[in-house]
Assembly symmetry: C3
């Protein structure tokens, strides 16, 4: 068996040499899924101490505890952002030797960390929106500890800041971490206003150039997507704009970069929309026709 | 950079002080997601020894092995239920000093553990239902080791017992653990009869006041939900009743607290129902009209 | 409390004795979910070194690193396949003493490992298809590190080889690992051609006897399933055939073992198909009729 193993190893290394690997042999590394996961967990525990595991938060120790978490986050983020920027450099300028990546990574990290207090305040508004919007929600603690839609927006707001700084790879990896855990697929490029509420969440897809206003609620299975998928259109606005105070019920699909859903509008379940809707509308599917057979078949 | 870190730490602690944290500073802790996860894994390994990792089950050691798992489950459950009850006390009576929470936690834990043998027998009927219902299922072992719908009902039956005892937070956290792992979102309040089968499962949503009879099968993407979402109606029955021997195919939506699906009924894929259906019905969508274009565009 | 614990332990052991357990008391073990997870992670890190966590890939060490991974994979696979084959033997021949399982396990493991270089080349074509098909994809590295559809096909191609060798339990456990992480539920029996692309992925279901050609793209919420679910039909082709160059947009449902979607066809979002479609078609739902109410309710 050992001879076979050696031969298989040799064949696999051959495909690495011919077809390339994820991390260039001898080249710089990329961010790993493990390191991104640790960054997210640390960030979440800064936003909501005790969220993942029990923590001692007595008021004498808290500066020390939070300070240590921020230090760790700064260190990990700087390292992973540097890898990402170097990867971006290699893609764009075909060079392995970037002179500014290390410094840029530190600057971006600092800018992002500075945003955390503001992000936390926004997230607390998202918690309020969930508590107000779901009859089954008993307390903001329940929302924080158990709502997948809340965890998705917590991470999206962070990933979106990295997206705005044009960091490659990491923002998408963060939102895919959340996609794996919640079934909610928000592209980190999507712009989302205050008091955003997603209930149940599974199957929600929100595209890169989507713009969502304040006080918007979205239910399971909703797609806010592109009308058709054409690689050449990567640079234009391909996804809809949703104005303030819109509710989109489960299974609805809203497509197209020129589609605007006007404010105070309700989109009913399973509705399929590919053009704009004026403000203050309520749109429901006509009751479908059924074939009903009574009596046992 | 260190000065900046200190300033950011200070700003974050400021938002904790002004806007509150998950665990009150100095106050009692809440159950953590990590501890709930460990409780679920222990419970699952009591129901199906060897499910997650290999175990030695020889008949001399088994009393010792299972006894130790039960002891651990009792200890963890008591602790987490006590935290939850104290949280409930604080919400209701505005006091940090509950005189009965500790004792209630022990009593509830004992009552729940006493239910496990009965839950196990019910779960084995769910396994039978999956084996009978899915042509692709080859053995009950395959169902146990790989069907997400089975894992969801295993955990739901446990969480539902805690819900009936009015334990805050934990039941929902348990079902959200399962939601994250399976894409199946069952509120712990839902009442579900024997021999329940969910195939594929992703996107299933079953609301808090749903009542489901025996021998019911539900496919991926089915919503059993509320007709409209009004916070004030939290105390009334907002979700449907599904009688015995009903099959609900993928993507169907059944809404409303007064909606009753009569026994022996089949609801076809993508059907949208907001009022009651008599027993022995078969309801299918009329074949939709398509725009068909032949020839390459 | 200790008396109660003892009594509960006794009751649970009683249900093991009466109703059976997953691993027969005293009998051979089954593959555990933990061991399958480790096999998948090791396999993924051979396909894409550095995918999960950082790795040192300098060209002097790489033979050693990959060699060690292959050795570990061979050892783990042999062990788990042997357990599965023994389980199959017990089901079929009612014997606990298989004379060929151990040797078959080694042969199958070797055959599967020999396939890895070829699988890797196929997977790199899947990466290309994702990069070509999604306007939001910036690089093949982004596809590899973050696309759930890519991870699903990476694991499916491996599980399918085990399925072809008629190994019980493991192939389905592998695809359910992926289902849990991506919301994509592909039965390991499904035959899938080259350059397969799934975007977003959540809610995709692909049945056991599905046959998919080359250059096929499938979006979130698509079901390729059985027309009706009858246990007796487990041995016939129950799921559709999708020819080359077909695109199936989100939420579409294609059912039935005799349904063939001809090449170069586009199936629009939410379309429901239960019979064959000729080549070069484009099928879209007629715009549905809405109830539109303007003005605030």
């Amino acid at each position: 068996m050992n001879d076979s193993m050696d031969r298989i190893t040799e064949m696999i290394i051959q495909t690495y040499k011919e077809k390339g690997v994820l991390n260039h042999l001898e080249g710089p590394n990329l961010p790993s899924r493990k390191s991104i996961r640790e960054i997210i967990r640390n960030y979440e525990s800064i936003i909501f101490p005790g969220f993942e595991s029990e923590e001692n938060l007595d008021s004498e120790l808290i500066s020390y505890t939070i300070g240590a978490k921020i230090q760790q986050l700064a260190k990990d983020l700087t390292l992973e952002i540097r890898k990402s920027l170097k990867f971006g450099c290699r893609m764009k300028h075909k060079t392995e030797h970037c002179t500014v990546c290390a410094e840029s990574a530190e600057q971006i990290t600092l800018a992002i960390l500075n945003k955390i207090p503001e992000l936390r305040e926004k997230i607390l508004l998202d918690v309020e929106a969930a508590l107000a919007g779901d009859p089954a929600a008993r307390s903001s603690e329940e929302v924080i500890l158990s709502y997948p839609g809340l965890e998705a927006i917590v991470v999206h707001r962070f990933a979106h800041e990295l997206y705005l700084k044009e960091v490659p790879l990491i923002p998408r990896m963060m939102n895919e971490y959340i996609h794996r855990h919640t079934g909610i697929d928000i592209h980190p490029g999507a712009t989302i206003g205050e008091r955003f509420f997603m209930d149940h969440g599974t199957g929600i897809v929100i595209g890169e150039t989507t713009i969502i206003g304040n006080n918007v609620s979205v239910y399971q299975g909703v797609t806010i997507g592109a009308l058709k998928v054409v690689k050449e259109e990567a640079e234009v606005k391909r996804h809809p704009t949703i104005d303030d105070n819109v509710t989109i019920y489960s299974g609805a699909t809203i497509l197209g970069g020129e589609t605007v859903i006007g404010e105070n509008t309700t989109i009913g379940g399973n509705v399929w929309i590919t053009s704009s809707v004026p403000a203050n509308s309520r749109i429901y599917l006509k009751p479908p026709e059924y074939i009903i057979k009574n009596g046992l078949a």
